[in-house]
Amino acid sequence: MIYSSLALNLDVPLLQAALPLLEAEKVEAIEWSFDTLFKVRDIPPWFVELLREFGQAGRLVGHGVFFSLFSGRWVPEQDHWLKRLREMSAEFQFNHVTEHFGYMTGVNFHQGAPMSVPLTPEIMALGQDRLQRIADAAQCPVGLENLAFANSLDEVRQQGEFLSRLLEPVNGFIILDLHNLWCQLHNFELDFADLIRLYPLDRVREIHISGGSWEDSGARPGKKIRRDTHDHAVPEEVFALLENTLPLVPNLKFVVLEQMGHSLADAAQQEIFRSDFLRMESLVQSSGQKEKAEIPGLFQPPRVSFPEIPLQNENLFLQQRELAHILETSTNLDQALAQLQASALAHSKWKIETWAPEMLETALHIAQKWKDGW
């Protein structure tokens, strides 16, 4: 069974846009970013009831955004995140729990730009250690979402394999975010068929679709960079990707529409959002895959033991800190390039020599926009 789902959070415009779909019994499951409300003491009871109702039906999935899987150092915030996940998982019945691939560049936790890390045995071990802790806290299947941002073609082409190996010990799954994939297809001028075959498609249990925005590149005049900002309707191209991907993912269970509430302020935007949902639902229906049976326990994590003290990687931490400083303080692309070439990241596994200048420029924009957090 594939559920046509909405990413629903405690967000007035988003819930206003979704209410007619909920009333019409169109929403088959919901995804909730449980860690966005860790600091809120009193979640309104009606929202708790909504979560419980979907949870009891096995149709609630938890989507974390703040764990920063690959930060070199383990920080108290990650302990707190796991503690709250354990509590939330006990209170609500998540069908599965997910986080994002990569880490945040910020000098402080939860700031900066989302970035990938080099695929090395040490860094793989770090990610696997943390995923096991997430699985232990969640007590349900766990998965990771593919990243939209990439510095180089190598990073783009490697992400599928990276995710596959990372998820193996927890028997985890992938959220294939098709807008993120489209960002990479556009930004690196790739064909869908060439890129999708690099992903372990039998591990895809969830698909995301969303909109985003364009940014003019100064480094490559005439080139537009696609950004995953979730602030517009779903583009035609992403619907086409959904149609092409549905037959390729045999273990798909949730297809989720995401949009941020601030871009749903007026009635016209809310109407387009509902129209996007109904089009997504129609594509799922017409795929012929909707009613197929799920293999029981397919992504159930095995019981694993892990060290009491989380793995850390001090060398990775120092490199991440240096990169964050460069991204947050460089006044232009040339300065950032010069600093990178003089940094510990030069001629290292980070392969900064292969980074596309227009993507480094984009990373500068993102990191400087969000360096003070949000």
Partner: protein, 66 residues
């Protein structure tokens, strides 16, 4: 999925009253951990024990900043 009428009604009322906030509140724990030294006077509101609500903001990049 069919939802009970009471949940839908409560949802509609809750939205009318605006008792929701943004989905994109930062888990701003950096201000709480490591910066506050607990004392014997720390109580329920101690930032090291349970975080309080942050001011609502929008345009959270974690929801789609890549």
């Amino acid at each position: 999925m069919k939802l009970s009428k009471s949940i839908l009604a409560a949802l509609a009322v809750g939205l009318t009253l605006g008792s929701a906030t943004t989905s994109c509140q930062k888990m701003d724990l950096k201000k709480e951990f490591g910066q506050h030294q607990c004392t014997s006077e720390c109580g329920e509101n101690c930032p090291n024990s349970e975080p309080g609500p942050p001011p609502p903001i929008d345009n959270c990049p974690a929801c789609g900043m890549g």
